[in-house]
Symmetry: C2
C-alpha cells in the first residue's frame, strides 16, 4: 500500500470512466476522503470551497463506484477509475471537460442541471469542484 | 478564448494520449507555459521543484505535440490531448500512472530510464513532476 503525498493536506485526483477511459473530472482528496473511498468503494473528495468532505453523488445520486485507484510515479497524484452513475459534471455534461480553451463545446449536455440538484441548487453547485 | 484560473499562479494539467485516451501524467502550467504551449504546439509546463518552465521532452526528446486543449467547467483545470513521442514517464513507463495504490504494476516499463535521460540523470529526474 503506497501512501500518497498530501500537499497542504490534499492530493489531486483525476477521475476516469473505467469503461470509456474518458476523463470525467479532477477533484481533491484529503487523507480521510481517501480512506472513505477505499472503505466504501464510492468516491469521496474534499471540497476546498465548502471546506468539507463530500461523497460524490450524495445530493445528485450520480455516484461513482471506484473500480481501481492508481498513483503516479512521484506519488502526489491519484487516478480513480470509476463507474459513473449519470453525469459527473454539475452542468449536466457527462464530463467536466466538455469544451476547448477556445470555447467550442465538444460534448452535449445530457441532463438539465436543474434536474441534477433541484431547481434551487442547480446554478450554485460546483459539485465537480476542482 | 477562455482564460483559466491560475491558483497561486498555476493550473493543473491532465495529459491524455489523443489516440488511446490513456492518462499519461499530471503537471502544472503557469500563464507563460500555457502561452508557449499554444504558440509552439508542444507541451510546456512549470516545474514546481525546479521553479522554471520546461518543455516536455527538451532533454529526453519525448515531446508532446498538443492536439487540443480542454478546460473544465469551473475553469481551474486543463486537459491536453497530445501525441506522445516515446514515453511520458521518467521511469520509462508510457504513463506515470503505472501502478495501483496497493503497489501492483499494471503496465510494463518500456524504456530503461537511464536511456531516457542518460546515465547521470536517469535516477534524479522527475520530468513528469506533478
Amino acid at each position: 500500500m503506497t501512501e500518497p503525498r498530501f500537499t497542504g493536506g490534499l492530493v489531486p485526483v483525476v477521475v476516469v470512466d473505467s469503461g470509456t477511459r474518458e476523463v470525467l473530472m479532477v477533484a481533491y482528496a484529503d487523507r480521510e476522503a481517501l480512506e472513505l473511498t477505499r472503505k466504501t468503494g464510492f468516491a469521496h473528495y474534499y471540497s476546498r470551497s465548502r471546506r468539507k468532505i463530500w461523497k460524490k453523488g450524495e445530493e445528485s445520486s450520480h455516484l461513482q463506484r471506484v473500480v481501481r485507484i492508481l498513483v503516479d510515479c512521484d506519488e502526489d497524484t491519484l487516478l480513480y477509475e470509476v463507474e459513473q452513475e449519470g453525469v459527473a459534471c454539475h452542468t449536466g455534461h457527462r464530463s467536466c471537460f466538455y469544451r476547448t480553451l477556445e470555447g467550442e463545446e465538444i460534448a452535449p449536455r445530457i441532463l438539465d442541471p436543474e434536474k441534477v440538484y433541484g431547481k434551487d441548487k442547480g446554478s450554485q453547485r460546483t459539485d465537480a469542484e476542482g
